[in-house]
């Protein structure tokens, strides 16, 4: 059961990290503009990548389940999703390099 929890964490970590980073960044554009707090975006960025890394770790470690084919499927899924969403989080950071929150 512990492995299954790990595998599920691996699957959901990436998408949840992306959703969190995305929604928080959008919701806080005004706040960041008013308070000149663009560093907040970098914190979200780091946090998002950290969660994705956690997803990769859990998916990797949890691959030793009682049902190898299903466990392998979930593990691969977790790895792919965590890595893909990590890339998406990086892509989401690109606009911050060129645009200011108050523009």
């Amino acid at each position: 059961m512990a492995d299954e929890k790990r595998l599920l964490s691996g699957i959901f970590a990436g998408p949840i990290a992306f959703a969190l980073v995305f929604e928080l960044k959008y919701a806080l554009v005004d706040y960041v503009c008013r308070n000149r707090a663009q560093w907040l975006f970098w914190i979200f960025f780091a946090l998002g990548l950290l969660i994705c890394a956690y997803g990769v770790f859990e998916a990797w470690v949890g691959a030793h389940g009682v049902r190898p084919d299903r466990a392998r499927f979930m593990s691969l899924g977790g790895l792919a999703l965590s890595i893909a969403f990590a890339v998406f989080i990086v892509a989401l950071m690109v606009p911050d390099l060129f645009l200011r929150p108050c523009q």
Binding site: F18, A19, R70, M74, A80, L99, Q103
Partner: protein
């Protein structure tokens, strides 16, 4: 595979028993009380197709109107109504219900079970959908058709610019259709996670089923947004609330946020099932396993998540800050990646398979061509500068039709041809099938491609005519000619199906040698689906089955029994008896219709509808006599390996049960609505510097806090009920139920007092609107919880309690936990937050 032995004489008795147990009732009453997934699914498909025809007729009228400049075939008012109803019909009455209907029909067959987990609820979902559609068209023919576009933007649809009942009709139709979609979503999620055939672990679920699971989750979190949004609109219009009224603290842009938070995922809700159809068709016609199964599942998950991250690209022209917009540009570009991965997986499958060409496969190719064009223009529209240039022009019309027709209708028509032999037992005419495809492909491109150019030339959407000097006449005439070809294509398809429905060549169980379980049963499938529930040995159930693949024995044939399996590996867990035919869903649809439609004229009709619906719900849930009766089990076939489940328990009262999962699904939806209410509060707070408004008095803390205490205390009887039901302690259950009723009633009385002493009304300002709506919505939940508890209490007094009722007790307890938890954030924002943030108190 498992059905090889279906013709063996040993099984005649079992088959006869199953046919009796699952038999349809004759006549109108039988039709109204039907709860089987196949008839209900087929009703969705046929009804949605009828609406598609109506929507197509409206499109034809529009094309006729626009076919030449300065045309006055339709007047502006009628044109407004027609384009609104066309969009509304195609999105809410055709596309979503059609895809869900396909899911309701196919998913139980594909996962190897006999019916959906909540058959009565499923029937109710169909009836409310039909009522919503009839209501829309009835109002249109009465001259009150909505006319503010399919997204009904405020303030155009608000009370100031749209008097009368036109916008209310649109808003309430949304309630009906979305309610239906939410029901189907819960049905599919529970069916897939709890009713799969033994052996169908997560990595063996067919890709179409995966696509329906993802769509169902999207529905559960997207549809509440538009339901709440349309309810706000009704409140603004009927009760003079101010959600979208800027001078009183509301915000019209908020409508767009809520609408598109639903509206963009809606696009994926429509086309993800199309991706599922594609996977089914391509695997069958390439005669090989889909290349990259895991990758496709991952891309479905990715698309489902990212579908919620692109809604603002519909609002670039509203003045969103550049950085905020750029996040959505990034997301809009990135969402093409998972779809691209799927396309490459299909190409690899075709490349490495043994491809046969027939009509379904042609439609799959049609998907590739049209959807890729739509995807490319989507990437363009995701970019702010291009979006600003072509916003609200025919370029957008072209794009959305390429995406929706290319992404959904082409695969859907392919799916019609693919599963036609399964539905009817007959083959369609291949010649007519191919003719209809080519007519559609050519007609579609002739109609919609010129619209790109028209849009780039500046022709705006939603204009009823244009001047000759614009030079748009020729391309519009061309587009109108293309529409004729589309109509011919659909007519050809219909003629093909009608002609071959009874007289086509016999199809046999699996004419395509396809891989999923529905192809292992006769065509059309028997009313009970599988004589013996199958077991699964691989991701392509039919192809991977051993010659002596075991089937499930030990299931009752004299009851509507389904096998409940474990979530991850689909190991047999327990058996569950489904309800049979019932008129209750139809009656509830009638009473809820009275309440919902009446409420747009007079608010008190809602209360009337609720009271009458409560009476019907008592009839719905009251256990029928004869339930739980036992007859001798049937003989077991000895000719083949079997998976015997006769020793499994017949019901459980814990978290493994279907009802538990259904309950969780419904709470997830309600939780999403609560979350959106909180989001509404926070949004309004953010756009108003004066919040709460200066006229709002200090919130009284005494009675609300006492009431919070009462609600928190209900946790104790809820917990006792939960534990007592788990340990079969009926007297203690009765006591806990009584305590919950008393606590619930006390809470409601005090809450009414608190509400009447707030010192402001819902119609005073947006703050009042959101506070009254939030408290009212929570009170409705307490009423529902208390009502359910009272019903169970009465039942527990007069009838013997069996395991099924114990499960009801536990679900009620969990619902009370939910009701308690949902009040905490509202208590904080309504009563505490003003003290913390408002100066001058």
């Amino acid at each position: 595979m498992t059905e090889l032995s279906i013709e063996q004489p040993d099984f005649r008795r079992e088959r006869a028993m199953l046919e009796t147990t699952w038999a349809k009732r004759p006549g109108l009453l039988g039709w109204l009380s039907e709860t089987g997934h196949k008839p209900i699914g087929m009703r969705y498909i046929v009804t949605a197709f009828v609406f598609f025809g109506l929507g197509g007729l409206e499109a034809a009228l529009m094309r006729l109107q626009l076919s030449r400049p300065d045309n006055h075939f339709l007047n502006p008012d009628l044109y407004n109504q027609i384009f609104t109803i066309h969009g509304t019909t195609m999105m809410f009455l055709f596309a979503v219900p059609m895809m869900l209907g396909m899911g309701i029909y196919l998913v139980p067959l594909m996962v190897g079970t006999r019916n959906v987990p909540f058959p009565k609820l499923n029937a109710y979902g169909y009836f409310v959908y039909v009522v919503g559609g009839i209501f829309l068209y009835a109002m249109f023919f009465l001259g009150a058709g909505p006319d503010a576009g399919w997204f009904s933007y405020v303030p155009l649809s608000g009370p100031a610019f749209d008097p009368g009942k036109r916008a209310d009709t649109w808003a309430q139709m949304i309630t009906f259709t979305e309610f239906s979609a939410l029901i189907v979503a819960v049905e599919i999620v529970v069916c897939v996670f709890k009713q799969r055939a033994p052996g169908m672990s997560l990595n063996r679920i067919p890709l179409f089923v995966w696509s329906m699971v993802m769509v169902s989750f999207m529905i559960m979190f997207a549809m509440p947004a538009v339901m709440l949004d349309s309810t706000y609109l009704i409140f603004d219009r009927t009760f003079s609330m101010h959600f979208f009224n800027r001078p009183e603290g509301g915000d019209p842009i908020f409508w767009q946020h809520m609408f598109w938070f639903f509206g963009h995922p809606e696009v994926y809700i429509i086309f993800i099932p199309g991706l599922g159809f594609m996977s089914s068709i391509i695997a069958a016609f390439a005669q090989r396993k889909i290349f990259g199964y895991t990758a496709i599942v991952c891309t479905l998950v990715t698309t489902a998540f990212m579908g919620f991250s692109v809604w603002v690209h519909h609002m670039f022209a509203t003045g969103i800050p550049q950085l905020g917009s750029s996040f959505f540009t990034a997301a809009s570009l990135m969402i093409t990646v998972p779809t691209g991965v799927q396309v490459f997986c299909w190409i690899a499958t075709i490349w490495t398979g043994r491809l046969r060409i027939a009509t379904p496969m042609l439609y799959a190719f049609g998907f590739f061509i049209t959807f890729i064009v739509g995807g490319l223009t989507g990437v363009q529209l995701g970019s702010v500068p291009i979006d600003w240039q072509v916003h609200d022009t025919f370029f957008v019309v072209a794009h959305l039709h390429y995406v929706l027709i290319g992404g959904a209708v082409f695969p859907l028509f392919g799916a019609f041809h693919f599963w036609f032999p399964k539905w009817t037992g007959r083959m369609y005419g291949e010649g007519l099938g191919q003719l209809s495809f080519w007519l559609l492909l050519v007609g579609f491109n002739v109609t919609f491609f010129p619209m790109h150019i028209l849009g780039l030339h500046g022709m705006p959407r939603r204009v009823y005519t244009y001047g000759a000097e614009t030079g748009w006449g020729r391309l519009n005439a061309l587009a109108s000619m293309g529409a004729v070809l589309i109509a011919l294509s659909i007519l050809t398809m219909l003629i093909n199906f009608v002609m071959h429905r009874r007289r086509g060549a016999a199809a046999g169980p699996n004419p395509w040698n396809a891989d999923t379980l529905e192809w292992s049963v006769p065509s059309p499938p028997p009313v009970y689906n599988f004589l013996h529930l199958p077991t699964v040995a691989g991701p392509n159930a039919v192809w991977d089955a051993a010659p002596d693949q075991p089937y499930v024995t030990g299931m009752r044939f004299d009851k509507r029994e389904v096998l409940v399996t474990k979530t991850l590996d689909a190991e047999p867990d327990h058996k569950h008896e489904l309800p049979g035919h019932s008129l209750a869903p139809f009656l509830l649809a009638v009473t809820s219709t009275v309440g919902l439609i009446g409420s747009i004229f007079y608010g008190w009709w809602f209360t009337v509808g609720m009271i009458v619906s409560a009476a019907v719900l008592v009839y719905w849930f009251w256990p029928k006599r004869g339930e739980g009766a036992r007859r001798a089990p049937p003989r077991r076939a000895m000719t083949q390996r079997v998976l015997d489940v006769s020793a499994l328990e017949e019901e459980t009262a814990d978290s493994r049960s279907l009802l538990w999962w259904g309950n969780l699904g419904m709470m997830a939806i309600e939780g999403a609505i609560f979350a959106m209410l909180i989001a509404t509060y926070l949004y309004l707070r953010m756009v108003n510097l004066d919040w709460p408004p200066a006229t709002v008095p200090k919130p009284d803390l005494v009675w609300p806090s006492i009431n919070l205490g009462i609600l928190l205390l209900t946790f104790i009887p809820a917990l006792i009920l939960d534990r007592a039901a788990l340990h079969d302690n009926v007297p203690l259950c009765r006591l806990a139920l009584a305590a919950l009723i008393v606590a619930g009633a006390a809470f409601l009385i005090i809450q009414s007092f608190v509400l009447s002493n707030l010192g402001y009304k819902w119609s005073d300002h947006a703050y009042g609107s959101i506070v009254w709506t939030s408290i009212g919505y929570h009170m409705l939940h307490v009423v529902a919880a208390a009502g359910e508890t009272a019903l169970l209490f009465i039942y527990a007094l007069v009838r013997p309690i069996v395991k099924k009722q114990l499960l009801d007790f536990r679900c009620t307890a969990v619902y009370w936990y939910f009701v308690i938890a949902m009040w905490l954030p509202f208590y904080f924002i309504v009563f505490i937050e003003p003290w913390l943030t408002r100066k001058g108190y």
